[in-house]
C-alpha cells in the first residue's frame, strides 16, 4: 500500500511538473518582446526579415571605433548571379548610426584579382551602405569595406565563399538541404506505412501476448 501511495505521489509530481512546463511555455509565448531593428533591412520584399522580425547580419567587425555589420543577399553568393552586399555602420562609443560616409568596396578574388566599387548610402535608411555585384570565380573572396572620409578613415574585411550553384554550397547549406530531405522522406515513409496499415490484415500472433496487469 505505501508503495502504491508513493507511486501515485510521484505521478502527481510528474503531472504538476508538466503543468508548470506548459504554463512556462505559455508565458514565454505571450511575453516575447519584438526584436525590432532600426530601419529593417531595406530589401524590398525580403520575407526572411519580414517573417522573422529579427535582424540578419551575418558578420560584424570593429574598426577604429566603428561597428561594421555585413550581410550578403542571398547568403550564399552564386557565380554569375547578382548578390547584394549590405553594410551598416554604428559608432561603438555612442551607439549612434553613422551616415554620410564616403565608402568604397574592395573585392579580392581567390586568384588575386581586385575590383573596387563605390558603396553609396541607401537613400532613406540611415547608415546603410549597399551595392550589388556579380561574382565571377568560385572560391573564397575577401570583401573590404573602406571609409574614405576626411574624419576617421577606417576599413575592415569580411570573407565570403562563392559557389558554383546552390547545391554545391558550403557545409551548412548542404546540411540544411540534407535535413529537410530526410524529414521529407521520413514523413513520406510514415504516410505510406500508415495508409498501408489501414488496408493490411493483422498478422497472426503478437509481439507479446500476455494480458496487461494494472
Amino acid at each position: 500500500m505505501p508503495r502504491t501511495h508513493d507511486h501515485c505521489t510521484r505521478r502527481s509530481h510528474l503531472l504538476s511538473a508538466i503543468c508548470y512546463l506548459l504554463c512556462a511555455i505559455a508565458l514565454l509565448a505571450c511575453g516575447t518582446p519584438v526584436l525590432a531593428h532600426h530601419g529593417g533591412l531595406g530589401i524590398e520584399g525580403d520575407l526572411v526579415q519580414w517573417a522573422l522580425k529579427v535582424d540578419q547580419w551575418q558578420d560584424e567587425n570593429i574598426a577604429q571605433g566603428h561597428r561594421v555589420k555585413f550581410l550578403s543577399y542571398p547568403r550564399q553568393p552564386i557565380v554569375g548571379n547578382s548578390t547584394r552586399l549590405v553594410f551598416e555602420i554604428q559608432s561603438t562609443a555612442t551607439g549612434q548610426y553613422v551616415s554620410g560616409l564616403t565608402a568604397q568596396l574592395e573585392v579580392q578574388a581567390p586568384d588575386g584579382s581586385q575590383r573596387q566599387l563605390p558603396l553609396p548610402e541607401t537613400t532613406g535608411v540611415t547608415a546603410y551602405y549597399e551595392t550589388a555585384m556579380v561574382f565571377k570565380p568560385e572560391g573564397e573572396h575577401t570583401i573590404t569595406f573602406r571609409s574614405l572620409g576626411t574624419a576617421i578613415p577606417f576599413s575592415t574585411s569580411f570573407r565570403k565563399t562563392v559557389s558554383r550553384s546552390t547545391l554545391h554550397g558550403d557545409w551548412p547549406t548542404l546540411l540544411g538541404y540534407g535535413t529537410v530531405l530526410a524529414a521529407f522522406l521520413v514523413t513520406w515513409l510514415g504516410f505510406v506505412v500508415s495508409v498501408q496499415g489501414r488496408f493490411a490484415t493483422v498478422r497472426e500472433g503478437s509481439p507479446s501476448g500476455s494480458t496487461e496487469t494494472f
Binding site: C8, R11, L15, I18, L21, L22, I25, L28, A29, T32, L35, G45, L47, V48, A51, L52, V54, D55, Q56, W57, Q58, P74, R75, Q76, I78, T166, G169, P172, T173, L175, G176, Y177, T179, V180, A182, A183, F184, V186, T187, L189, G190, F191, V193, S194, G197, V202, R203, S206, P207, S208, G209, S210, T211, E212, F214
Partner: protein, 165 residues
C-alpha cells in the same frame, strides 16, 4: 500572396499543433488517470479509440510538416534552414526530433496497434471477448516518449523567437 501564404502556414501549423500536441497531452492525461484509478473499462475505451487517434495524429503531422515546409519555401533563402546561425541549429534540432517522433509513431502504429487487443474465450464459455494485452503498456510508454519529444520541439519553436539571424 506571400503574406497570405505566410499567414496560412502559421494557421495550419497551429492546427497541426492542436491535433498532435493537444492529442498527445489528452491521451497521456487520460491514460494516467485510468492507471491511477485502476479503471480497466476506461483503458479499454481508450484502446478502442487508438486507430481514430492515430489518424488524427497523422493529420497533425502532415499539417505541421506541410506548413513548416511552406514557410521555408516562402522565405526562399538558399540553405533553407539558416545554418550556421543559432536559428538554423534550433531548426535543425526541431527537424531531427520531428523525425524521431514520426519514426516512433510509425513503430507504434505498425508494431503495436494491431496487437493491443487479444481475443479470449469468455469465462461463461460462450463466445470470445477482447482483452488488453501487454502491448498496451508499450503503446502508452512510447506515446509518452512522443509527448516528451513534442514538448521539447514546442520549446525549441519558442526559442526560435529569441534567436537572432
Amino acid at each position: 500572396m506571400q503574406h497570405f501564404l505566410e499567414y496560412l502556414a502559421t494557421l495550419l501549423h497551429l492546427v497541426g499543433m492542436l491535433l498532435l500536441v493537444g492529442g498527445h497531452i489528452w491521451f497521456g492525461f487520460l491514460t494516467a488517470l485510468t492507471e491511477r484509478r485502476q479503471d480497466r473499462d476506461g483503458a479499454r475505451f481508450l484502446a478502442t479509440q487508438l486507430p481514430f487517434m492515430a489518424t488524427v495524429f497523422g493529420v497533425g503531422v502532415l499539417l505541421l510538416f506541410g506548413s513548416g515546409m511552406l514557410r521555408l519555401f516562402v522565405w526562399g533563402e538558399p540553405g533553407l534552414i539558416f545554418l550556421p546561425d543559432p536559428y538554423g541549429w534550433l531548426l535543425l534540432s526541431k527537424l531531427v526530433l520531428y523525425m524521431l517522433i514520426v519514426l516512433n509513431g510509425v513503430l507504434i502504429e505498425r508494431r503495436y496497434l494491431p496487437y493491443v487487443f487479444q481475443e479470449r474465450p469468455r469465462l461463461s464459455g460462450a463466445g470470445t471477448e477482447l482483452h488488453l494485452t501487454a502491448v498496451w503498456s508499450q503503446v502508452k510508454l512510447r506515446t509518452r516518449l512522443n509527448l516528451l519529444l513534442l514538448l521539447i520541439v514546442v520549446a525549441l519553436g519558442e526559442a526560435l523567437r529569441y534567436s537572432r539571424l
